[in-house]
């Protein structure tokens, strides 16, 4: 491709969340390598701020907007504004439920919740009591990951979700929840945390209670949790590839600006990382983030996030 002089707008739901800050960093780096300008805004998980940010972004007339909405339903108005201004929109991670989207780069939280639950089911043939430590109440990731988890668990008679409590994405709060859960239900066999931060808290709580038998499953595949999986303190985590999503998004933007065709929906992987594949996968992730070629543009998984 010949170099273009592009300005990309990136609107994230919340870049204080590690998942999105990783996505942002990868996006910026890929854009820099391609010689693009990036205007990056974050909404702090406030859907009204999405609208505000879109207004401010449009003032600066970017060539393509990459949009990670706070909320899929709420995204319509912001997208409509961009549509009115004639600026193409690409959504990442979370879709917009209305408006014209050129391309959606999806990662499926519900599916992630399902494979996490399935892993627990597979690990514990006898079933038992399970704990769910939720994200912030009302957040879309909480709802989706919880939905996937319950899709599997609720259909299975052997398992009982005895505790479903919020840890507010925070290790410290998750730790307290887990401590209380262990006191209240000594027979707990497994715990699913809506993110890896909270899994760290759960690990601490289990260790302090001398319970190394509990199957702990997290979400996000943070570096520390991969270490924990290697060390055997955590059983599994769900990997989404935020860096890959960021890079893919930059590439898609380049194509759109050049007038090339792009797929309407591009799926990035969601997969389970366990002790079996943690080493292999770690290298895969590294490759993905270092080598631009390793994108998955050919994959045309059309799973919709919402």
């Amino acid at each position: 491709d010949e170099k273009q002089d592009l300005t990309l707008g990136l609107m994230l739901s919340d870049n204080t969340n590690q998942f999105f800050s990783t996505l942002e960093d990868a996006f910026k780096k890929a854009a820099e390598d391609a010689g693009y300008e990036v205007i990056s805004l974050s909404s702090g998980n406030d859907a009204a701020k999405d609208v505000t940010n879109m207004e401010d972004l449009l003032t600066q007339n970017p060539d393509v907007i990459v949009y990670n909405p706070v909320d899929s339903d709420a995204a319509g108005d912001a997208v409509a504004m961009a549509n009115d201004a004639g600026i193409p929109v690409v959504t990442v991670d979370r879709a917009a439920n209305s408006g014209d989207i050129v391309c959606h780069i999806a990662s499926d939280n519900v599916y992630g919740g399902e494979i996490a639950a399935q892993y627990i089911v597979d690990q514990l043939p006898d079933g038992g009591q399970v704990v769910e430590i939720q994200g912030q109440a009302g957040a879309s990731a909480t709802n989706e990951r919880g939905e996937g988890f319950h899709n599997i668990m609720d259909d299975n008679d052997k398992f009982e979700v005895v505790v479903s409590q919020t840890g507010n994405w925070s290790s410290s709060e998750a730790m307290s929840v887990m401590e209380n859960a262990l006191t209240a239900n000594p027979d707990i066999k497994a715990v699913f945390c809506h993110n890896d931060q909270m899994a760290l808290g759960a690990i601490e709580a289990c260790q302090q209670a001398d319970r190394d038998d509990i199957v702990i499953v997290g979400f996000d595949a943070d570096a520390d949790n991969l270490d924990a999986i290697k060390a055997g303190t955590q059983a599994a985590t769900v990997r989404q590839l935020p860096a890959l999503m960021g890079e893919t998004a930059v590439e898609v933007c380049g194509k759109i600006a050049a007038g090339e065709e792009v797929e309407a929906s591009i799926g990035t992987e969601v997969e389970l990382v366990t002790a079996d594949n943690v080493d292999a996968d770690a290298t895969a992730e590294e490759e993905a983030t270092t080598e631009e070629e390793a994108t998955t543009e050919e994959e045309t998984e059309t799973t919709d996030a919402e």
Binding site: T59, A74, N97, G138
Partner: protein
């Protein structure tokens, strides 16, 4: 004579110091970015400011009383969810709006009863109801976003949030303007307004002067709740759906707008017009930071610094 003129000049400057801060801001921001001083962008600023300004107008009633209301963000979330749920059920627009205002009023009434009739401290009452109203929103929506369908009601409701009159006057801005006119009248031209300032200035004296202090406090909190309900409806209309977490920590921006506008948290003081100016000052800061593509981490820092600078300047010129 000579000195009197200077004094008058000084007094004038002092009276309109927030306006001066605003003008300074406009000049500086125009120099920083050529995109700032365009009709389109300034319209954006007003639209973006509208919800915070309406909330600030409401919370100014609580602050002038010498109290506070930090539950308004949760009221915004709750009334927004109710509004969306009603719109989805194709309830007529007028009913939807009245219902949100009524719910806001009830929320304010709850705060007011505890504050006025049980003599509890406003900060702790509204800290508790912040939690209660947010929980109620989560229970009501079951934690999920309430999206508005494409029906006739949805369209008319959304007009509230993004419609225009005469082609340039956005509805939220119009609503904000009306709110400020009414609030200005109530606070400055009615005896209720005088009484509110009196209670905030010296509650004991107000009581001994024969004022019904409790009723005044109650009323102020009810008004604060109503305006939070209105803000919730407008926000829901603007966004086109209601998130269960909508409005979280909005109270802080509203309080900041009041204080930057010269309202004292000690009560008894504050001018509503300057509260509007305060909201715009803060809105413009957010806007220029976005336009300049300042990273959101740095935005958080800069915003804090600028609020501090604004109250510092405010205080300096006040002395």
């Amino acid at each position: 004579m000579e000195s009197k003129t200077t004094n008058k000049g000084l007094k004038f400057i002092n009276n309109y110091r927030q306006v001066i801060i605003l003008l300074a801001e406009i000049i500086i921001f125009s120099l920083i970015s050529s995109r700032f001083l365009s009709v389109g962008n300034l319209t954006n600023v007003l639209k973006q400011v509208s919800i915070n300004a309406i909330l600030a107008a409401g919370v100014s009633f609580a602050i002038i009383l010498g109290g506070i209301d930090i539950s308004i963000g949760s009221v915004v979330g709750f009334t927004g969810a109710i509004a969306a749920a009603l719109v989805v059920r194709d309830i007529p627009l007028v009913v939807v709006i009245l219902a949100t205002l009524a719910i806001g009023a009830v929320a304010g009434l709850i705060n007011g009863v505890f504050i006025a009739y049980f003599d509890l401290q406003p900060m702790i009452v509204t800290l508790a109801t912040l939690s209660v109203f947010r929980g109620a929103t989560l229970v009501f929506t079951n934690g999920a976003t309430v999206a508005m369908s494409k029906g006739a009601c949805a369209a008319s409701f959304k007009f509230l949030g993004s419609g225009r009159i005469f082609g340039f006057l956005y509805m939220p801005v119009l609503i904000m303007a009306l709110v400020f006119i009414v609030v200005y009248y109530v606070q400055n031209k009615t005896s209720f307004g005088r009484h509110m300032y009196a209670v905030g200035g010296n509650e004991d004296a107000a009581y001994l002067s024969g004022l019904n202090v409790r009723k005044i406090k109650l009323m102020c909190h009810v008004i604060c709740g109503i305006l939070a309900g209105l803000a919730g409806a407008v926000m829901c209309a603007r966004v086109g759906s209601a998130q269960p977490t909508a409005g979280e920590s909005y109270e802080m921006d509203a309080i900041a707008a009041c204080v930057v506008g010269g309202t004292s948290l000690r009560g008894g003081e504050g001018r509503i017009a300057m509260t509007l100016v305060g909201a715009i000052i803060i809105g413009m800061i957010n806007n220029i930071l976005n336009i300049m593509n300042v990273s959101s981490y740095w935005q958080t820092i800069v915003k804090g610094v600028v609020i501090l600078a604004a109250v510092l300047m405010d205080r300096k010129s006040n002395n």
